[in-house]
Symmetry: C2
Amino acid sequence: MTMEWDALLPSDAPPAGDMAAIFELLERPGVLSFAGGLPDTAGFRTAQIAAAGTEVLTRHGPESLQYSPSPGFRWFREFLSERLARRGIPAAPAELVVTAGGSQAFDLVCRAMLRPGDHVLVEAPTFLGALATLRLFPVTVHGVPVDDKGLSADQLADDLRRLRRQGIRPRFLYTIPNFQNPTGCTLTEPRRRELVRLATEWELPVLEDDAYGELGEGAPLPALKALHPAGVVFLGTFSKIFAPGLRLGWLAGPPELAQRVVGIRQSTDQCPSSFAQFLARACDTAGILDGQIEDIRTALRRRRTATLDALARYMPEEARWTRPDGGYYTWVTLPPPLDAGKLLPHVVMQQRVAYVPGAAFYPKPADGHRQLRLSYSLVEVAQIPDGIARLGTAFRSALSAR
Amino acid sequence: MTMEWDALLPSDAPPAGDMAAIFELLERPGVLSFAGGLPDTAGFRTAQIAAAGTEVLTRHGPESLQYSPSPGFRWFREFLSERLARRGIPAAPAELVVTAGGSQAFDLVCRAMLRPGDHVLVEAPTFLGALATLRLFPVTVHGVPVDDKGLSADQLADDLRRLRRQGIRPRFLYTIPNFQNPTGCTLTEPRRRELVRLATEWELPVLEDDAYGELGEGAPLPALKALHPAGVVFLGTFSKIFAPGLRLGWLAGPPELAQRVVGIRQSTDQCPSSFAQFLARACDTAGILDGQIEDIRTALRRRRTATLDALARYMPEEARWTRPDGGYYTWVTLPPPLDAGKLLPHVVMQQRVAYVPGAAFYPKPADGHRQLRLSYSLVEVAQIPDGIARLGTAFRSALSAR
């Protein structure tokens, strides 16, 4: 009564996810990990959230345990709409769909917009989870280079012209304008305006992933959605500011897209968690949400400073890295001939430190070999200098061994 | 700065979901609805669940608010494995994937197993949500008739032979053996054994949807997964026994499939809710889960009896209906020339009662016009006789008007 399942399953399955490898590194005991993109729940206002959760279950027990409407509760979408309006982002409740985190929002938009053989544009490098999602469809992914000022609008214009000559019209551009994953860079305001001008001219839909948008310092730059409401789908999440364990995010698109997404949603996980919606609103009402965001910002600022200081002290002289104004990440470029991917097993085993090699973030796996992402979101300030020093030791010794 | 989104979106989108129409009927004020498949949260042990939730957030706050591993926590899969073993269902932790409800489990298995142009077998009629999911891929869906004893194994054998002559090998059979949605019928034990024999002979993977399996009376029949562990993917959910608002379900497949599903899962909503896993286990440990299942069983038995009594009293003489031993549904066949779909708007507006027309549950929309699904899960016993009487009035008057 055995069955040959491997023979029964389609042979075109994408390779096992890079995320699995990252989670495995994270779980290796005794390794100081700069690899994952997880928030530090030790900094969460857990006791206050627990009190709010108790109140939700006591006052709204039956509703919070029942199915939610597929797009999310109307009152929750109104709450999101008001929250986004405070940042100048226009999104009516009918344009909002509540999702199981930002990744599901991206997957649902892809299911609504993509068909096999389509083409899409992403930043190079970009969020590796988005690349993994795009491999499911499958589509051809074109990378547009990112520098310290974010996505290059000039390069985007060139790429659009080149693709048009080949008869290719990309379905959308996926971009992370704020504290980008993995580079930590932020798209400058002139480039935002130039990008929106191009998107309008080319009728190119833009997917704006804002996972880290509220975790920055100083006055935030205008969202692409604020500059170009009709052409931008905004992807948001509570995973970095509130509680990823609740699975709560959203998308704000034009109503035509929101409607299609809801139709698909009904055929996948049906609806978002009711309890999560009740709890997030209760924590907002009680001021817990904004207080926690402030706490997270402060912690990230300290960790960022400690990381940049340690990099200046311990990295080989020829190495370069980005200087983020918010978010989780800095992006390190090693001098040749170092290869961040080939060095990783050695660094983990010998120096007990982990990072994500740069190649994982490129649509073409051949790119980014000298680069790596450091995430300081989960590493305490006191541990950072020693961790970066150990990284520096590994890289210096690899350099001197050449 | 407007954009023509309808022109930018693919033109092959499936029609707007039937589920949306059902939810709309449910929300119409003053209508007694036998339409939806929702549990009655008024019967939930909400105060006890609230106490367990408080304890989880107090004792496991940071972990329950953090991301979960993509397949679900190891300890939660061990808990599921033990729970399933008590029902004779073999499922090792490495074969289990925790999902956002049973619908997501089905969607993930479809994403792992189906490619455009594939063929699948389902019961006719079957769960309309599964039909909507299959339309997303898209695949050709073949319906195998269901009668009072469940899926017809003879008919399945005929269909498999007929398809083979056409060079078609279905990717899987999707079946709901217990208290089937929509008919309420249960696959008999001889037919289970015959079905498993056929599945083995034809190397046909079976997807066993057990949404209602714990909501029956008397000793349960052996699960297909228990009879044929290597060939059956078992789809389970907490939505009907615990709390749909937490979005918690699972699948138990062979390890090859579970691994592929986890890879896809990382590219959609990444992981199940950590809080939901903590809360479900806490409620099991405290005896709340099994107690609540007993409460739900008792309530459903009373509602079932009231529904069958009222049908005998108020339906036109030529009408027929099924006699479920558990679950939510009875399936009514009206005498010709009545058309349940055409009558529905009249019944809702005039008699203020709602049901789901039978055609929604068939792969071929032309089928099932004389049939309809009544769900008694959300209707209180005291309301049932009057509701069914109003249905009877509508049908009798339509019959006498012919």
